[in-house]
């Protein structure tokens, strides 16, 4: 008697077909584990089609996602080596910088570009989380304020996409000074009467949140992004407080009135464009910033 075939196991609906040669470039969603061909995942802006989880986006990819096609002009500044403390935690700090550069292909934790969004002139300043945790050092601060200068001089809106662990400990007190330094950049853009929109991506903490990230006219956050000043682990250890559900997520901050909106990455460009239309009044001149 022929054995009955076991009923076939129900498979989940087919995802993007993985061609054998593309397997090396497969990416797994960090939340639900679904696997994607890298190109397909990037096409969906690193958002999982199944669960909506927003993956990390490198600075250059972020610029490409937001800018009009072909409009982005990435600016490179000569950021000389800075090692005020001659820091060495087993690996000398310049060596760490060199490794970060090799890994990410960018010079520093900030990448700025002239671009247009829906034909409106903007200056995009995007943080590279892969570069030493997106930490804010002296060179990164320099890139940001130079970007702000360009925005003010050329009447461009400032769009900052923030993803950072905070200050760069390896630069010590010089890193702390960047909080005030970047604030002067925000100040000059505000004084020129230009809009500043910040986008908080996962994760955004410490001296970055506590300076330019929170100083924007409009603060947008990506779904599920973890945002705050002190990290949850630090808080648990310091105070023995139990952390509430969803603590320090974008949605938590929205509920507490800290951000203007939580925006899906796939509609981020549209949202920014809508806001810029309000604030830039295409072809018009923004009113002068009222002196206090």
């Amino acid at each position: 008697m022929a054995r009955r075939r076991a009923p076939q196991r129900q498979l989940p609906p087919p995802g993007p077909r993985l061609r054998p040669e593309a397997l090396g470039g497969a990416i797994e969603c960090r939340s639900c584990g679904r696997r994607y061909v890298a190109e397909r995942y990037a096409e969906n802006l690193a958002v999982c089609a199944d669960c909506g989880h927003h993956g990390n986006v490198a600075a250059r990819a972020r610029i490409a996602q937001l800018a009009d096609h072909g409009s982005a002009d990435v600016l490179r500044f000569d950021v000389s080596e800075r090692d005020p403390l001659r820091f060495d935690d087993g690996v000398p700090y310049p060596e760490r910088l060199a490794r970060a550069r090799a890994k990410t292909g960018v010079d520093e934790a900030f990448v700025v570009a002239r671009a247009t969004i829906d034909r409106m002139p903007v200056l995009l300043a995007c943080m590279e989380f892969g570069f030493l945790g997106g930490s804010l050092g002296s060179a990164a601060g320099e890139i940001f304020i130079r970007g702000c200068d360009i925005a003010a001089a050329e009447r461009r809106a400032l769009i900052a996409v923030c993803a950072s662990g905070g200050a760069r400990m390896q630069e010590g007190i010089a890193s702390l000074a960047q909080m005030a330094r970047c604030s002067t950049g925000v100040e000059s853009v505000a004084r020129a009467g230009l809009p500043y929109i910040s986008v908080l991506a996962d994760p955004c903490f410490g001296g970055v949140t506590a300076s330019f990230a929170a100083q924007a006219d409009v603060i947008l956050a990506e779904p599920g992004a973890r945002i705050g000043f002190a990290g949850g682990r630090v808080i648990e250890q310091a105070t023995y407080d139990s952390l509430p559900e969803g603590f320090q997520t974008a949605e938590f901050l929205l509920a507490h009135g800290m951000v203007d909106a939580v925006i899906d990455r796939r509609s981020l460009r549209t949202t920014i464009s809508t806001l810029l239309h309000v604030y830039m009044r295409v072809g018009g001149t923004p009113p002068e910033y009222p002196p206090r």
């Binding site: 000074a177 604030s183 929170a214 630090v234 310091a238």
Partner: protein, 272 residues
Amino acid sequence: MKGSIATTDRERAAFAAIELARHPDRPRALQVINGVFENWTELRGDRLFGDDRAVIGGPAELGGRHVMVIGQEKGTDPMSRAVHNFGMPHPEGYRKAQRLMLQAEKFALPVVCLVDTPAAHAGVAAEERGQAWAIAESLLCMLGLRTPIVSVVLSEGGSGGALALAVADRVLALANAVYTVAPPETCAAILYRDAGQRARAAAALRPGVDTARDIGLIDELIPEPDPGAHAHPRVVIAAIRGALMRHLDELCACSTADLVAGRQARYRTAGG
């Protein structure tokens, strides 16, 4: 060198400097206010949520000149330390400071800030009420404030929590104070994933205020008689009074526009 836990002499010396700055008998903000100023009237509350006892402030007189004094108070005994939350402000503290600074601008009072905090408070409530937002607003508020600001780092200036009261036309510091990007315990947790290696972090960070002076965050160090301010609080308070009067005389002679432009130019380059 991985695995080497032995504390070197350099690390021990660096951590001794931190401990000296944390000495419980060093003059605290309230003592300095009482010793330096006359007729201080405390004003409380941020008009938004509550009153943070880690930040105290109000108008006072200094040698015939009216000023607005804002300080971070750590407390002097176990009870008052708890009341003042060990000098670690919540967002309300920074918002109260902003309110008082804007009031000082309105009445053309110079602002004096006394910085003494290990860090801004790390807690659930502080995050819920926007600790980062409060600090970020303070930075912008101080950068644009149309009245002179002098800050004095008394003992411990830690993290953005200290910088939020130290964006000023002149920043002075007691010679044995420390000014760091984060307390050494936090740095060790971030860099070595072990808060216990705080001495190692202290040595690597060069926490002394001379480092901050070298990068332009501090202008002048106020000398302390040996072995430190904890042994001679009255001498040190008199020195603070003298330094404050001298700097306020200079700053009050400047035009407001020059002051604000100069302050912004200064922070554009500090740490660059």
